[in-house]
Every structure is written in structure tokens, then in C-alpha cells.
Amino acid sequence: MRNFKFLFLFLFFAACHSSLQIKEQQQKNVKLKADSLLSEDAAIKELIAPYKIKLDSQMNIRIMVASADLKKETPEGALGNMVCDVLMRYAKANKQEVDFCILNNGGLRIPVIYKGDITVRTVYELMPFDNNLVVLKLSGQKCLEMFATIAQFDGVPVSGLRLQIEGNQATQISINGVVFDPSKDYYVLTSDYLANGGDKAEALKNPIEYKDLQIKLRDALILQMKEMYYSGETLQALKDGRITKK
């Protein structure tokens, strides 16, 4: 009798449970669950603690104050401008001949530095990569190629350089207030990552001269910010139209 009952069930399910239904169910059952407030797991906290204590003592040091929010934007943002301006000051303070600075958007890893204290941690989170600061001597022609790349990226962080993006091309280019001369060579401050052709910066490869300043971008930024802060400066949100779009 019992077996009979199962045979009936078997026939019933065999008849109605087609693979078509499975497919439909797969699509319908998707849903979202609300956020949940969670306590911290004790074992995990215990694992983190010794690392955190050591790190905090080095990371929580204030090295600068931002007097407004510094945002990462294209074609030009106050965050990118600040980073390039400060690095240019670092290079010049260390007696390097530099005409302009070019970095990439992908190298800035936080979208904004908020108004208020800037700590060592802020800079680590902004520039976590271990890239070195380098100076390249580049021909005017190579510079032109690089400016076109900047245009194709819709603008990147720069300093000492002004240009206008017209479609895929850069126009009205000037270096430190002087019209760009394609027959001249220029000294470009950048990262070794870009200098090796990273992030499509092919134009920076094989320069006339390559000089590694033997310091990470992040460390140069920290040193220079400290220097500026101790002499009473704060950071302004500066957007001066160095890169514009037509």
C-alpha cells in the first residue's frame, strides 16, 4: 500500500516537474536583503590588535590640514593638482631640474581628501603603490605624444603644464607660462610605473635620460607636506583651469 502511494507521488512529480520550471524559478527567486548591524568577532579583533597598535602609532600622525575637500576629477581635480604641485615642490626643493609633472588617475586610490587633518594614513591610502619618483628628459615630439594620451584619458593629474582637450588632441599647450616648443627637450617628473609605459603611457618609454630619485611618490609627498605644514601652510582646493575641455 505504502509503495503504491509513492508510485503515485512519483508519477505526479515526474509529470509536472519539468526542467522548464527550474529555469523560471532560477530567475524569479533573486532578491535583496537589507543591511544588518553586526558586532565585531572577538577572535578576529584579537588577531588584528597587535598589528593595529603598531600601525596606528605611525599612521595617525598629522602632517597637513586641508582647508577644503580635495576631489579627484577629470579633466582637472583639486586632488590631482595638489599631489602634482606638492611633488613638483619636493623635486625642486631637492635641486632637480623639472619642467612639469604628469601622473595617472589610477594612481590616486581615494576619490577625495576631506577638509581637515591629513595624516600619514591618508597619504598611504591615497598612494598605496610602491612606485618611485623619476625625472625623464623627453623630446618635444615625445611630449606631444604624451599630451595626446592625456587628452585621450580626458585629463590626468599634472603640474607646470596647461593644455586644452579638443577631441582626442591637446591644444594651446604651455609649460610654466611659456608656449610649448616641440623642438625643445623637457624634464618630466612622473612615476616609474608610467615611465615604464604603464597605463598606456607609451610616450614616456625610452626617454633621452632616466633618473630615479630613489624615493617613493608617497614618501616624497609625506616629507613635503610635513615641511609645508611645519612652516604654517595648509592645502587649498585649487582648480586653475590647467586642463580644460573645448
Binding site: F6, A14, I22, Q27, D35, E40, D41, Y124, P128
Partner: protein, 316 residues
Amino acid sequence: MEELQKNNRKEFLKQTLYLVGFGALANSPVKVLAHAEPKTLSILHTNDWHSRIEAFPSTDKNLAGQGGAAARATLIKKIRQEEGDLLLLDAGDIFQGTPYFNFYGGELEYKLMSEMGYDCVTLGNHDFDNGIEGLVKQMPLATFDFVNANYDVSNTPLKGKIQPYKIFRKKGIKIGVFGLGIELKGLVPEKLFGNTLYNDPIPVANQIAAKLKHQHHCDLVICLSHLGYKYKENKVSDEVLACQTQNIDLIIGGHTHTFLPEPVFYNNVINKKVCVNQVGWAGLQLGQIKYTFEPFVNIQTGIQSNLFGLTNTHNS
């Protein structure tokens, strides 16, 4: 009473087992077992958590108190308590993004993931940020497996430390997990990835997935992908992967830091559904894909998903 139910259930199982035999003999569909209790298996997943050991600080205007390994561990424990055995996966870029990585090289990340009981991860481009040596150095701290099928690491120190795929058994369900990585050239300095060679993910995926499904008879085939969700330009992505392959059930993605509000379904080359999911970055969310299987035969009958935002009581 409870004992009685147990006995009844035993009897029931015996009889249904008998019916499987009967069904097979009669060359009928084995879906007869649908009325028995279905099995569910959860896949919990993260991607691109980028060394976000702690929750975002209170000074962060948008993300204060969100994320953090300690809150994630609590959530995972809770789900384990409710559901028992499950699969916990990560789609790469565990490393880089906070000073924890700059100072400790990923040591703490792997320790914490081991403590949380991660089963398997794939490699993201940033997992190479301290070079192959830097990666290999931390691997002994990981109790989980590393999978990647499209990097040829045979001439690097990673040889033997990464498998193309790994097969897991959870709740009697056989799950094949394989990994795919993004082209490192142009993304990672060459000195960091050394002799790691990149192979086109699509043919590799087809080959490995077929092997897992038909040779190893996996009930579920999962791809841990660090290819990225999708691109404007013509570039291989999870979307391309889903549409141009077969035998993959689920793609857990990463790299593009995409916050998908819910998983997306694509039709593969033979018009079967492929589920693709990705949960942003920084350990802000935990994804859950829950499969229902018919008992004994382990045929997939349903899929559900949950998305958990991680908000920490301590910092918020």
C-alpha cells in the same frame, strides 16, 4: 515523537531510494525525489577587499563604520550556524589599499581569511603588488586554496602553489571551483609578475569547466574570475565569459569593483543560464548565492541570492 519521525524519515528515504532505482530502470526522469527535502548549499563571496582590515573610520563621510573583517567574520559565523556547511570564496585583490599591506605584506589578510574559514580564492592583479616572492611568502599562512587556470606559472616560484581548479564536497554536493585572472601586462609592472604567462581565458574556461562537469561530474561549477564585470571596449569580461562558454553555473567576479544590486543572469552558448555576481570592493558587502538541489541526485532546482551590507555596531 521525535524518534518516531526519525524512523519514519528513514523508512521514507529507503523507499525513495528504491524509487530512484525504479525510475532509472524505467528510463524515467529522476525528478521523482523533488518531494523529498531539498538540499541547500550557500556560496558566500567577497572580492577586491583590498586590505580593508578595519571598518572605514568615523571621519569617512560616506562609509563610516562600514566593512571590516571583524564584522564580516560575525556575519559568516551566523550564517554557518544557521545553515551548516557552506562554501566561502574570494575573487581576488585581497592585497593592497591600506597601510596594513604596506607594512605587513598581506600577512594579516591571509591570517584573518583563514580564521574566517575561506575555502578558495583566485589571484587579482594587486595580489602581485609585492612581486611573486611577496605573494609566495604569505601563502603558508593561508589555510585556503588558490586557483587560477589561465596563468602559466610553471617557470615561477608559484609553481605547485596554485591549482587550475579545486573540487569541494559540501553537504554531499560536489562543487568544482576554477579561477581566471586578468592580463597582467600593462597593469602590473613586469618585474612583479615575472614569468607568469597569460592565456586567453575563454578556451581555458571551456576546457576546465567541461572537465569539471563531465569528467569529475561536479554538481556545480563555479568560476572565480578577476577579469572584471564588463567593459565598453571589446575586452574579455565576466559578461563575455558567461555568454561564450558552457558548463559554468556561477561566475563570482571582481576587479571592476562593481556593486551589483543582485546577480545577473546570462544565456551561455547552449542557452543555459549562467549566474554572475560581484559585490563591489573594500569588504563592504558579503554576497550569498543559495542553490537548492534535489536530494541524492543533486540536480539544481533553484537559486536565491542575498546581499549583506556590513555595518559595524562598534564604529557606526
